[in-house]
Symmetry: C2
Subunit: 172 residues, 2 copies
Amino acid sequence: MKHSSLTQLAFLLFSTSLMTPALAANNMPVQKSPNGIELPAQYQDWRLISQSHRVDNNTLRTILGNDIAVEAARNNNTHPWPKGSILAKLVWKQTPEEHWPSAIAPDKFVHVEFMIKDKEKYKATGGWGYARWLGLEQKPYGLNTDFAQECVACHTPVKDNDYVFTRPAKLP
Amino acid sequence: MKHSSLTQLAFLLFSTSLMTPALAANNMPVQKSPNGIELPAQYQDWRLISQSHRVDNNTLRTILGNDIAVEAARNNNTHPWPKGSILAKLVWKQTPEEHWPSAIAPDKFVHVEFMIKDKEKYKATGGWGYARWLGLEQKPYGLNTDFAQECVACHTPVKDNDYVFTRPAKLP
């Protein structure tokens, strides 16, 4: 095989690996959200934006961001968030820490949900694309594209904060 | 200047940047902990291990790890944690989210504290080096090396969990 063919093969393998859908805990490919959004690859490795504890439904949440979102958060450039920002909210049921019961810690993984900023592409849902995957098996949420109207309705009270509840945690 | 000298200069500048101590919010260099531990560089960019909410002192905590710790956590290889693991716990005072008050969110940054695994180096403190820096100005905690005995005393109830309270959050 000539050098150029080897390079082409390496490129093909590399491209294919980028196109491979994310795998769930059971090693099955994760399906797209009904609105066509694909699960962002390796979101578990994204950097910290903030966290929260919802005492109304007993869940803990970590908010991570892709590089665009994290740079925006750390430079106080979130009004509005720049195009391409993705926020991931990871949600767990809560449990007391065994040896420090007044510390509430994550238990069962509930879901991960995303907001993807693109004013033009997601014009119908306020400039953000919404998607959610349930459980460790990462099953897409929603029967059809209408599910995103739920998201928009819930986020409309924070329209003046670019539809985002999360305020980036202060960091040194 | 010859090419080799330029390369040497570039290397020197690169090495110097690695040796520069971390800067606090006021751009002052961050001082070492009294036990000689230096603030790990760019710990704010480390990946997620877990989070918690201490309802006894109204603080929220995110636990991040360096690469060794994150690989260990995700491969369930934390009994014991491997040498070189570093856990960072970032702590904030809590506040209700403005538009969803039953969601408790981070407010003022309180401190960041670290556990660094090295059985030999930190034999006197159970195989972990402890350090903490207070506030956005990242002032080292402790008047002298004795401070770490506080840490050990508090962590001794979880000796069977390699002195670590945190259990890595389940992730897809």
